[in-house]
């Protein structure tokens, strides 16, 4: 058994750790009580102050209606079905003169997107809270499957199923198809508590349990035939954060523990192969699901400010990630026979170490210099063993060693901001980072980044910012295709996250305030990535965006906003059909235009507030391929969303108000990857038949709010 890890950590990591500990040895000063000098408040009776015993309570009940059923419209909101729904909300706050308070909030009580939050405590001393959140997520629309047991761990085909080598030959496919709705639901329960003692000590603990259940889509294959399966999801994640912190006037130290445990109650899926078996026993397959794992981390962070000249802060986190779930058998096919593996479980272990230190030096009010060091280490100590895989549950394949990936990232940054007397700030920065990786084509890359920025107030009303920078990523160790990868990658390939890259970035923004109630903002962003040494793979990428924002509040009870944004992302890449020099190129362009406008008018009539919100988004994706032959074009990918919502609130009486809202949302999308792809369209793919969403939904709500405090 061999354990692979990176070389020992450099000395600066340990120095950083020692530095963090040393921070706790600073001078101890008493805590300052506020910013200003202390006043003589003996005569300050606060007679005109409203009563400080605060109570605020309101309950809202009503009914809403959705005109049409749409999973996409109901995604994350729970409004997926047409018809009425009931609306319930509650908001209660109470706080007495001693600072004891209680809060209760509940939203969307009539929907599957409900949220509840309870809080109780004594201000400045302790608090206890509970939280519940439910999030429905609709994965796809109009999905169909011939499988029985959709959403479970065993997917079987009907008894009369007739296997065939292509989907078109499956005589029972269309009669067996059943509609199903892939849906995932997250429920999170949270419990937290915190306490403070004598302004020095802070303790807090936060526990969360998230249960995720439902059905999702996942592909599974036998060599060159594939099927999209309706797979059941049953996961639990428990997280805990505990913090202990101590503060003095000039320094602060916090020790924290973070724990996260993931359990999967559905560790695999067995499915009947709908295609003709390619080998004896190949009529069933088994797919692994995500294994349970746990992560534990200790974090020490703090701040130390010996004077105005120097402020320092730092963080050091040591973590361990483990995964030791029992392996599934190498195959479910009894005809393959026993396949021995070197272990019953992975005994996977990853040690993490990351930390940052920042020093802010301010020799005067005009100049500040920030120096930062950071380090991030993923030391994968999982044993490296030789496994005997079974290819697609059909036949034993050559043995292979697993590759427990590790990386070590270390970097430093230096930044200076100089304020000139004319309301202008000139900034410059540089950073350098090295990245070491194991089991990859290059062991080490180095990245340098230089940037400059000018922020200036040309007039009291006009603020201009301009920033530009260049980043250079280079190989420190030569890029060599991996020898033990069979079959190997094209030697001309440079994986995009490793490849040498020049990145140029420009950002500009203008804020104009012609009146103190009006703001106009324009911003531009441009980034270009040039993978100048890449012949196969991503060669160039560009990201441009610009936006215009207007915000107006001419009177106390009238506000308007409008915005428009365009983002365009282009990427060019090259490939080789015949595993030699580039013979095709692909260009992908995504352009998204977004527009929104809103107006809110309070007290339009006595007690009547009204408003309007409109949002629009149009995304267009273009994929162009150039090959030796004239490549047939792809249709555009399109997503079109528009939403108009009108709302009004009328104060019927002192405690009672009426709320009305009405909206229309249109969604149109075209996605050639799934549109017109029926379960039997592709000969060797039994697809889900899902189509890109389209809907036009009208929705409205009527509600009464009663303010009882």
């Amino acid at each position: 058994m061999e354990t692979v890890c990176l070389p020992h950590r450099p000395a600066h990591v340990w120095v950083t750790g020692c530095f963090m500990v040393a921070m706790s040895l600073g001078n101890q000063d008493s805590r300052a009580q506020g910013y200003w000098p202390t006043a003589d408040t003996a005569e300050w009776a606060c007679r005109l102050c409203p009563e400080q015993s605060q109570r605020d309570g309101r309950v809202t009940a009503g009914v809403g209606h959705v005109s049409d059923s749409s999973a996409k419209f109901g995604d994350y909101t729970g409004l997926d079905e047409s018809g009425p729904y009931w609306l319930g909300e509650l908001e209660v706050r109470t706080r007495n003169e001693q600072g004891t308070y209680a809060e209760a909030q509940a939203k969307n009580l009539g929907l599957d997107s409900r949220q509840v939050r309870l809080l109780y405590g004594e201000q400045g001393r302790y608090d206890i809270g509970f939280e519940y959140q439910q999030i429905p997520h609709f994965v796809a629309e109009q999905a169909r499957t011939p499988f029985l047991g959709a959403g479970t761990q065993v997917l079987t085909l009907p008894a009369n199923w007739e296997r065939a080598s292509t989907t078109q030959g499956m005589s029972q496919l269309n009669p067996s198809l059943k509609r199903f709705f892939p849906t995932l639901e997250r429920e999170t329960y949270g419990l937290n508590a915190g306490a403070r003692r004598n302004d020095r000590w802070d303790y807090s603990v936060d526990f969360r349990r998230t249960e995720q259940q439902g059905t999702r889509l996942q592909g599974a294959s036998f060599l060159n035939t594939a099927v999209v399966l309706p797979i059941g999801v049953d996961r639990v994640t428990e997280r805990m954060d505990a913090r202990l912190s101590y503060r003095e006037d000039r320094w602060y130290l916090q020790a924290a523990y973070h724990g996260s445990q993931f359990d999967n109650n559905a560790d695999s899926v067995i499915w009947d192969n709908p295609f003709s078996p390619l080998a004896e026993g190949g009529d069933r397959g088994r797919l692994a699901q995500e294994p349970g794992n746990d992560f534990h981390q200790l974090v020490l962070s703090g701040r130390w400010q010996p004077g105005r000249l120097l402020q320092t802060s730092g963080r050091l986190a040591v973590g361990r990630l483990r995964q030791d779930e029992a392996f599934l058998p190498a195959t479910i096919n009894p005809w393959v026979g026993d396949v021995n593996q070197p272990a019953l479980s992975l005994d996977g272990r990853v040690d993490t170490l990351n930390g940052q230190v920042r020093a802010l030096i301010q020799p005067g009010s005009a100049l500040s210099v920030v120096a930062e060091l950071y380090y991030d280490d993923r030391d994968n100590r999982t044993p490296r063993l030789e496994f005997t895989p079974v290819r697609s549950d059909l036949a034993v394949a050559p043995t292979q060693f697993n590759r427990p990936y590790s990386f070590e990232r270390a970097g430093s940054k230096l930044r200076a901001d100089l304020k000139t007397g004319s309301g202008t700030t000139v900034s410059a920065g540089l950073s350098r980072e090295t990245m070491e990786r194991s089991f990859q084509e290059t062991e080490k890359t180095s990245t340098t980044d230089y940037w400059g920025e000018v922020r200036t107030a040309l007039t009291k009303m006009l603020d201009v910012r301009l920033k530009g920078g260049q980043e250079r990523r280079r190989f420190v160790e030569h890029y060599r295709p991996l020898d033990d990868l069979v079959p190997g990658e094209n030697p001309l390939l440079r994986r995009y996250h490793l490849g040498e890259r020049d990145r140029d970035q420009v950002r500009a923004s203008v804020n104009y305030l012609p009146r103190d109630w009006m703001t106009l903002s324009v911003s531009l962003d441009y980034a270009k990535d040039d993978y100048f040494n890449t012949r196969i793979g991503l060669t160039e990428a560009r990201d441009r965006s610009h936006s215009l924002d207007v915000s107006v509040r001419p009177t106390e009870n009238l506000s308007l906003y409008a915005f428009a944004t365009r983002q365009r992302i282009d990427s060019d890449q090259a490939g080789s059909d015949n595993f030699s020099t580039p013979d095709w190129t692909g260009h992908q362009q995504d352009q998204v235009d977004t527009f929104g406008v809103g107006i809110e008018r309070e007290a339009l009539l006595d007690g009547l507030d009204v408003g309007l919100d409109y949002g629009y988004s149009y995304g267009r994706g273009v994929i162009e391929m150039e090959t030796r032959a004239n490549a047939a074009p792809f249709p555009d990918l399109k997503t079109h969303l528009s939403r108009l919502e009108l709302f009004a609130r009328y104060q019927w009486s002192e405690p009672l108000s009426l709320g009305l809202s009405f909206g229309v949302e249109h969604y149109r999308s075209a996605d050639f990857f799934i549109d017109a792809v029926a379960p039997d369209t592709v000969a060797n793919l039994l697809a889900s038949g899902q189509q890109s969403p389209r809907y036009s939904v009208q929705f409205g709500q009527v509600s009464l709010t009663y303010q009882f405090w």
């Binding site: 007679r47 005109l48 003169e97 994640t237 993923r378 922020r455 059909d577 889900s688």
Partner: protein, 310 residues
Amino acid sequence: MVYAKATTALVVLVALLTGGALAQTDVHEALPAFSDQGADTCLRCHSGDTVEGIFSTPHAVASDPGTPFAQQQCESCHGPGGDHAGRLRPGQERPAPLAFAHQGSVNREQEVAICLSCHQSQERNHWQGSVHERQGLTCTSCHSVHTPHDPVMNRQEQASVCFDCHTRERAQSLQASAHPMRQGQMACTECHQPHGTLNDAMLVRGTLNETCLECHAEKRGPFLWEHAPAAEDCASCHVPHGSNHASLLRRRAPLLCQECHSRAGHPSIAQTGERLPEGRPSAALLGGSCTNCHSQVHGSNHPSGRNLSR
């Protein structure tokens, strides 16, 4: 080696400063006097919800010695108001309060210092030197103090505050694939710590992957067969704020996968419009494209999952 030197230099610098740390410069030079009667002085002129809303907030609980109203009341934050509340000579313009004046911030650093004099623990520790601090934001750029309903503290309303400046992210939140922020199910602060952290993008956890894996722990592994980019950086394939493609992907497969995979056979082949349903439909293009077979893209723990298909 260069880092060791830089760290050593930094530690030496700190050590030198420890012995003779500079005293705090006196920021209270030539301050006016406090008002005669504290809040009563203020409330004679200032009224209405935008002012008196403070009395429905924790800031006004006098029994908590850490709050403004246990100290100098309104003047704990706005500064000594003797000049502002005092008598005026004919033609004299009334001086503005020293801090948090209605006309806007005169001294941003001072206003932040006022807030931090009480709110300096926990997540505000790394404010100095943070991106928001450098961009000239103050606490009141985001927080509404005189109301019991501070929008930025509310999960449903928080994003609209952040989007005032983060216009790109607002546009991305409206795209075809996005986290449920528009629906009020997720707040910016579930991933970001706006008061500053020591990492890029002000993430709540130490690294990007640690932040993502808080909610997506099933993708954490370690797996028997790891997918290196996924173990290293979720942003290799995903964008966090919104995408034109499903699952917040940067680009569409197969092109996305072909940025890194070029083996002989189907990984190398250009998929064109000929492989659409009306032509010769291809499983390497349609449906889930590469993930029709290689669906374990975050890693597989199956002994036979080397090519991420089990």
